[in-house]
Each structure stands twice: as structure tokens, then as C-alpha cells.
Amino acid sequence: MSEIATPHAPTAPARPHAGDSYLTAEQGIASWFLTTDHKRIALLYMAALTVFFFIGGAAAVAIRIELVTPAADLLSADGYNRMFTLHGLVMVWFFLVPSIPNTLGNFLLPLMIGARDLAFPRLNLFSWYLFIGAGALLLFALVAGGVDTGWTFYTPYSTTYSNSYVLTAALAVVLVGFSSIATGVNFIATIHLLRAPGMTWFRLPLLVWAIYGTSLVIVLATPVLAAVLLLVVAERAFGLPVFDPARGGDPLLFQHLFWFYSHPAVYIMILPSFGVVSELITCFSRRQVFGYSFMVYAIMWIAVIGFLVWGHHMFVSGQSLYVSLAFSFLSFVIAVPSAIKVFNWTFTLYRGQITFEAPMLYALGFIGLFTIGGLTGLVLASIPIDVHVTDTYYVVAHFHFIMVGGAVTAFYGGLTFWWPKVTGRLYPQFWSRFGAILMFFGFAFTFFPMFIMGFLGMPRRYQVYPPEFQVWHILSSAGAVILAGAYLLPIGYLAWSLFWGKRAGDNPWEATGLEWQTSSPPPRDNFRSPPVVDTGPYDYHPDGEGPHHTERAPHRMQGRQT
């Protein structure tokens, strides 16, 4: 009965059976590339995503260098267009959408619900190969000459006027879409059918709920993207004119179908971070999460309403004003569940016993940056203002605040939080804290100026621009250097920890989740004996009372080993 926490001691000797962990259970290349172990597949994803993040990051660096001066210096006009298209495509579909679900989610989902593996282990591996295939296709399009449509593939430009590798890129996105559908199906089935005895729906950790909501959106929205991109492919490859205005094609049809996917997609990108942040905040403030059930409803609310607001990307596209008003209205409605989450995180801190390890710093940073990004989303949702700032850097700032300041920050937070579980090693706290703080300021430095220049009228997707915007671009580029450093630093100390890091105990943070019950790194089958759950998550202190103010209150693990 490990109901009483193991003492907080990073130096705790590794469990005797740590030897046969999932990392060492099988040997050899094949045991990795043919594995059906969700933990190993998570690591495969981790590797692939790092590569894509660097590619997308390199593109970002190129963009920022180019924009230091108003004139064109580094790239040709086409070169620049290909650059931001590549950046958008890679970052959205090959990094951020799969980031948290396919790495942390893949690794933790079965652990958190007390399962031996995902429902369909071989499907899991298959979807990784699909992902790699799609990535290879995209890279081919890239080296062959690139794509210049922007990540939004707007017709008729993409179908008729662009002479770049649109076809290949679109196919790559369709493929990667099916990869995430496969993962989504797998997750949903797992959560429905493989929960440990006693793990009722309302005892699920919030990360599991978030991934559940995400998977639903993935499964229901992605096919529409596939459909519309297939139409683009058909028009380019076989001249089948669905969007061609010269033959009566509707110029807005594509945009409607595209955003019908892509707005839900933005929640695909943020919901998992909500889950991660909820785990971190509760753990490091030693309090039960504030308003658990509301957090769950908020996730579901977002997942559903997310399907009804796509038109807010089309306020100036020529859609009727009344349609725009409806979409504007719903965009405001969907802000409320996010508000609930922000306030609940804040009040989880209240009367807590807070410590500031690196993951917590990332989480706190997330709250700030996400709030700014979200509030500017409301500004964009107000039609008169959007008419002015749409397609300017204001929008660029908005979504980077949420996607980079929010999602990517949360990703790093989750990475540093579960790293000891994944690898069994601890990393140096000083450097990781430093990295977290550096990322926060580097980020604000990079993207805040974009709000100002955007409101001043600096259009997006511009390689050359009037000189009055230069000062803001210089600030932003300077910040990007810091940001790059902050992103590269963790790669450094995490790698270091693999070789010289102290061994982590089973539960270095004294968290309550099932994943902390098993050894770190976990054995191939996750648990030595099937766990049984008899409480809700986050039992950091007895109900009714809060933590003591000096020594840590004894927390209850969520489950028992039988």
C-alpha cells in the first residue's frame, strides 16, 4: 500500500527492478522501429518532432533575419513566400498538432488510466510511419522547390496561379491528417475501454480529459480538411475545376471548408496544453484543482463550440454581414470556458503551498501569455476591429501568443515535468529554471512588438515593408535570438541528464497520478500489478483542509497496486 508518499528525495535509490524498464526490456534497432510499446512510440514521435521543430525554427530564423531591414536582402520574393509557407505548414501540422498528444499523451495516457498499453498498439506504430511518410513527402516538396501558398492554401491562388509544389504539400498534409485521425481513434477507444477498475470518468486526470476532447475534435474535423485538400489536389493534378472562378466556382467555398477544420484545429493545439498546465499547477501548489467538474465541462464546451466559429476568419472575405455577426457572437461565447480555466488555475494557487520548480515556472508563464493571446482573440472577434487588423501582424502576434507562448510553453513544461518518469533521470534545476524564465521574456520580446506594428497596419506575408515599421521588426528579430536560445537550452541540459543526471525516484515531485506509482522509467507493461483506483485525482491534502504551511501534507496516491 503506497498510500503514503515516498519521501521527497531525488537521490532515492532506483527500484531494484528498474533494470528491466521499457528502455532496456528489448535490445536492438528493430526493437525500436517495430515496437508496439506506446512508451517507445512516444519517444519515436519525440525524435521526429524535434527534427521538424528545428526545420520550422530554421525557417522562422530566416524570416526574422529577412525582416530586419525593409528591403529584400536575404531571400528572393518567391523565396520568402516559400519560407513562411514552410514555417506555417511544418509548425502547425508537423509539430504543434502532434506535439503534446503524440509524445506526452502517447506515453502517459495508458499510465494515467492504469492500462498496459493503448487499445490498438499496432495502429499506434502505423500512425507513426504514416507521420514519417507524410513528413518525407513534405520535405521532398521543400527541397524540390518549395510551396508558396501560405499554410492556408487559399484558392484560386493555390489551384490556378501558384507554380510551386502545392500538390505534394497538400498530399503530405492529407497524410499527416490521417495519421492524427488514427491516433485520435486509438486514444478515444483507450479511454473508453481500458480504464483501471475504479477509474470512473470523473476520476480521470484533467490531462486525460483534455486529450479525450482533442481526439474527438481531431476525428471529426480532420477528414473535412482531407476532403477540401483532395479537391485542390484534383484540380491541380487532373484539372477538375471545383474552385475555378472562370467556370463559376465559388471563391469562398474553399475558405469555408478550410476554416471549418482549421478553427477546431486551433483547439486541437491548445486543449492538450490546458491538460498539462492543470497537472503542473495542482502538483506544485499542493492543492486539489479548483473546480474539477467545471474544468471538465469547459474542455467539452470548447470542443463542441469550436466547430461553430470558423467564419471569424472571413470577416472581410465578402461573406454576408449577418453571417459575420453570428460567428462573432459565437467567438465571444467560446471565450468563456477559457476564462473558467484561467480563473480556476489561479484559484488553485490560493492557499496552496507553492514551490517553483521549472515545470511550475513554465505553467505560470503559460497563464500569462495565454491570457494575452486569448484577450487579443476577443479583439479580433469584434468585427470592426478585425476589419482593420485582419491579415496584419496583429493576427500573427495573436496566434503566436497562444500557440508559441501557450502551447509550446506548456509542451516544455510537460516535458520537464515528466522527463524523470520517461528517462528515470533528474536534470539540473538551476538551468531549467533559467531556461523557463528566459523563454518567457524572450517570447514577449519577440512577439509583443507585432501587436503594435500590426495595429499600425503592417500586413502579414510581406517581405518588404515601409520603413516606419522597421523599429518593431528589429525588436522582434532581436527577441527571436533570445527565444531560440531558450528553446535550445533544454535540449542541452536534458541530454546532459541522460548521462550524468541523478536517478529519479518513482515519484520525484510527490504527485498523485497513477503514472507516478510505477517505477521510473516504467516497466514494459507499465505496472507490476494492475492498479485499482478508489479516489479522484489530485488528493494533495485531506478534503476540507489545505496543506500545512511548512512540511508537505501527506498526499494520497490515486490508486493502489493490488
Partner: protein, 313 residues
């Protein structure tokens, strides 16, 4: 431009209204951000591990009701912002009757404008201060977007469709025009200047322009050469509606709908006649899609509009 400004010039009627909402939202957002920030910081400091602050159970005050409370509060606040923004947009929408109509055609990568008297400009637009200006825009290739930051206005320009944009400039001067919708290689260079002049200067400027044959008359020529006249002017073979006074009138269609005959309608009547057939007529009119280019359409429409004055109707 000298110095660093953080606020764009406001040179149109709309600009004032937009800025008002922006300022309001800045305040609200600032307040919310301050609130969240303050809470996070004070809690983090006050309840850091080892501090002597009181812990224990949450006070009665903080409980489910609070949750419901702030959910409702944010909802109301959100709806209030929506109501204001929405109503502003609606009020800005109602069309002024006598607007100066200028045709704008966008193509990769330039803006072509044509004034009612036929005067043409490229990558430039001259407008009189204080007058309602109505731009009728269409694109010859990809989607573009007409964006003048100083006016706080923007409107996508679509191929195969007319979109319109209204504004009333309030401040003379030269303002930058951007193409805001990505449209290919030189998207970033597809710009120009909008010059706002005092009405009399505008008149003088207009007069000075090489008086291109005016749209209406060019349209008339096309109307004949394309054979429209053959049917629409007392043809014995085909019964086609006379077009005098059509523009702006409400037309009853064969399928019972009643539509206002605006540019878009006339455009459709020419390109897809079968789509709305006039009540009491046979759908005999052939489609001219592909036969008439955007520029020609502009002229035909101008001509049919000019018929407004003549003839009994």
C-alpha cells in the same frame, strides 16, 4: 516618416468609431490581465512554501457559487463587447444614397481604378474629402484585399464577383494602400497611395486627367457590338425586358423572388442569365460568361446604370 508612432492616423469616418472600441477593449483587457496577473503573483508569493500565511480549507466565500459567478460575469462582459462591436458594424453598414462610385480592378500585382468620367489611375486613387466614396471592386486573378490603414478599412477583392467598400475620408493627405490578402510573388509590392483632396481640388484634378471615353458611352458601344441591343431594344423576334430604369428598381423574378437590381444583379444577369429570370419572360438570354471581360462588364454595368435617368419607368 519621422519618430515612432504607436497609433495610426485616423483619416476616415470609420476610424474614429473603430478607435473608440479599440481603446475600450484595451482598457478591459488591461484590467483583466492586471487582475489575473495580480492574483497569480500575490498568491505565488503569499502561499510560497514555508510562508506563514494561513492555509487550511477554502473559506466559504470561495466555492461553487464563485465559479458560477465569474462564468456568468465573463459571459455578460463578452456579450456586452459583442453587442457594442456588432452594433457599430451594423450602423456603419447602412448605404449612403449618393456615393461617388469608383471601379477598382485588382490583378497580380497592381490596382486599377476608374472614375465615373472614365479617368483611369494605376496603384493610386484620388478621392474628395467628406464625400461618401463607394468602391466597386473585382479581381482578374487571385484574391486580393484593399487595405488602407489610415481609414481602418479592408475588403477582399474576389475573382468573378463584385465586392464593395464604402468610406468617407475626413483628412486630406496621402495614405498608403496595401494588398492585404496573399496573392503570390509580388504580394508585398502590390500597393499604392490614396490621396484625399478637398472637393474642389479633386474636381480640378479630375478635369486635368486625360478624359478617357466615359464608362457609360463605352458601355453603350459594347451594348450594341455584343448584340444586347438586338434583344433589349424593341426586338421583334425576342421579347426581352427594356433596361431603362432597371438599375436600382426591385425586379420580380419568375420564381417569385423579388430582388433589387444592383451591380451584382446586373452582373449575374449578364454572366448567368438563367439564375434569376425576370417574371414574364422566357430564359432566352444567352450567358456571356467568358465572352465579356471584367473591364467590359464594368462598362456595360455603367451604361445600364446610366439608363436610370432616361425613359419612362
Amino acid at each position: 516618416m519621422s519618430g515612432i508612432s504607436v497609433w495610426p492616423v485616423a483619416a476616415s469616418e470609420a476610424a474614429g468609431k473603430v478607435d473608440a472600441i479599440v481603446i475600450f477593449l484595451l482598457v478591459i483587457s488591461g484590467a483583466i490581465l492586471a487582475l489575473v496577473g495580480a492574483l497569480v503573483l500575490t498568491f505565488s508569493i503569499r502561499y510560497r512554501r514555508g510562508s506563514s500565511a494561513r492555509r487550511g480549507a477554502l473559506p466559504e466565500l470561495v466555492n461553487r457559487e464563485v465559479e458560477v459567478g465569474w462564468t456568468a460575469a465573463t459571459l455578460l462582459l463578452a456579450l456586452f463587447i459583442f453587442a457594442w462591436a456588432g452594433s457599430t458594424e451594423l450602423s456603419a453598414f447602412q448605404p449612403g444614397p449618393d456615393a461617388l462610385e469608383i471601379h477598382v480592378t485588382a490583378k497580380q500585382w497592381m490596382w486599377k481604378a476608374q472614375h465615373p468620367n472614365g479617368a483611369r489611375e494605376i496603384d493610386a486613387l484620388h478621392v474628395p474629402r467628406g464625400e461618401q466614396v463607394r468602391l466597386l471592386m473585382t479581381s482578374e486573378d487571385a484574391i486580393h484585399s484593399f487595405f488602407v490603414p489610415a481609414f481602418r478599412i479592408k475588403q477582399d477583392v474576389l475573382p468573378g464577383r463584385l465586392t464593395e467598400l464604402r468610406f468617407r475620408a475626413t483628412l486630406t493627405g496621402e495614405y498608403t494602400l496595401f494588398c492585404a490578402e496573399y496573392c503570390g510573388t509580388l504580394h508585398a509590392r502590390m500597393g499604392g497611395t490614396v490621396t484625399v483632396m478637398e472637393p474642389e481640388d479633386y474636381a480640378r484634378w479630375l478635369a486635368a486627367q486625360p478624359e478617357g471615353d466615359d464608362l457609360g458611352r463605352e458601355g453603350r458601344a459594347l451594348f450594341v457590338s455584343l448584340g444586347c441591343a438586338g434583344c433589349h431594344e424593341g426586338s421583334t423576334v425576342v421579347r426581352a425586358p427594356g433596361l431603362a430604369g432597371v438599375y436600382g428598381r426591385a425586379v420580380n423574378l419568375a420564381d417569385g423572388r423579388v430582388v433589387r437590381a444592383d451591380e451584382a444583379y446586373i452582373r449575374d444577369s449578364i454572366l448567368q442569365p438563367k439564375r434569376d429570370v425576370v417574371a414574364g419572360y422566357q430564359p432566352l438570354m444567352p450567358s456571356f460568361a467568358g465572352l465579356v471581360g471584367e473591364d467590359e462588364l464594368v462598362r456595360l454595368i455603367a451604361y445600364i446604370r446610366s439608363l436610370r435617368t432616361e425613359g419612362p419607368s
